[in-house]
Symmetry: C2
Subunit: 111 residues, 2 copies
Amino acid sequence: MLHDPAQLDLMFQALADPARRQMVDRLSRGPASVSQLAEPLAMSLSAVVQHLNLLEASGLVRTQKLGRVRTCQIEPTALRAAEHWINERRLAWERRLDRLGEFLAETRDET
Amino acid sequence: MLHDPAQLDLMFQALADPARRQMVDRLSRGPASVSQLAEPLAMSLSAVVQHLNLLEASGLVRTQKLGRVRTCQIEPTALRAAEHWINERRLAWERRLDRLGEFLAETRDET
DNA sequence: GCAATAGTTAAGTAGTTGCTTCAGTGTTTA
DNA sequence: TAAACACTGAAGCAACTACTTAACTATTGC
């Protein structure tokens, strides 16, 4: 579910927009309503709702409506999936560098 | 340099495209030329070069040209910056949850 | 019940993105 | 030196994105 490439695609696409990252940043400090999310952003409420829908579709944010207010919160498992993708690639590269270093050290010893 | 919001913007935008993530994935297994990067992708070499330029502008990939071949490799520090941004937000949220849990446990004890 | 609040939905639009093709530039190799 | 190779850059184009405004629904407080 979390390593579904399509979901990963949606997540990275969601994180690519600065307004959406600002929303995630706000939510990392605690839940917020749509209007609270919109408040620091220089755009219409409607635009914020559209961003929010994208964030929700990507799995990064979960929302629930009580009465007329929709409360939003972060879904940490989704964030972890994006983090994990990057981490795996970086580690693969760094392990490769390590092996190369060992190889060079060994061949130097053989002189 | 690494926490420059503009650079972060470029990095997340670069990672948002599946073709570019595939290129990063390929490079995590070792350096490659432009043609080698292009080989598994169903698009023209020209398109690959355009993706590559974006990856380089974002700082995720570094390239150097020797003769007529351009060799590409991952820049792990840049990957780490993106990773770090996500990690900080996730941790902030999880710490908040922990504090909430403690609070609830404490207030339960007070009955 | 009426007005204010909180959000939703649809339609339209300017700007961006991800390609394409084509016509190059250097660099090797036979 | 000619041909093949490895890219590079520009122009063009269809699809997508990030907004806008405006009209709407549902809830809450007076």
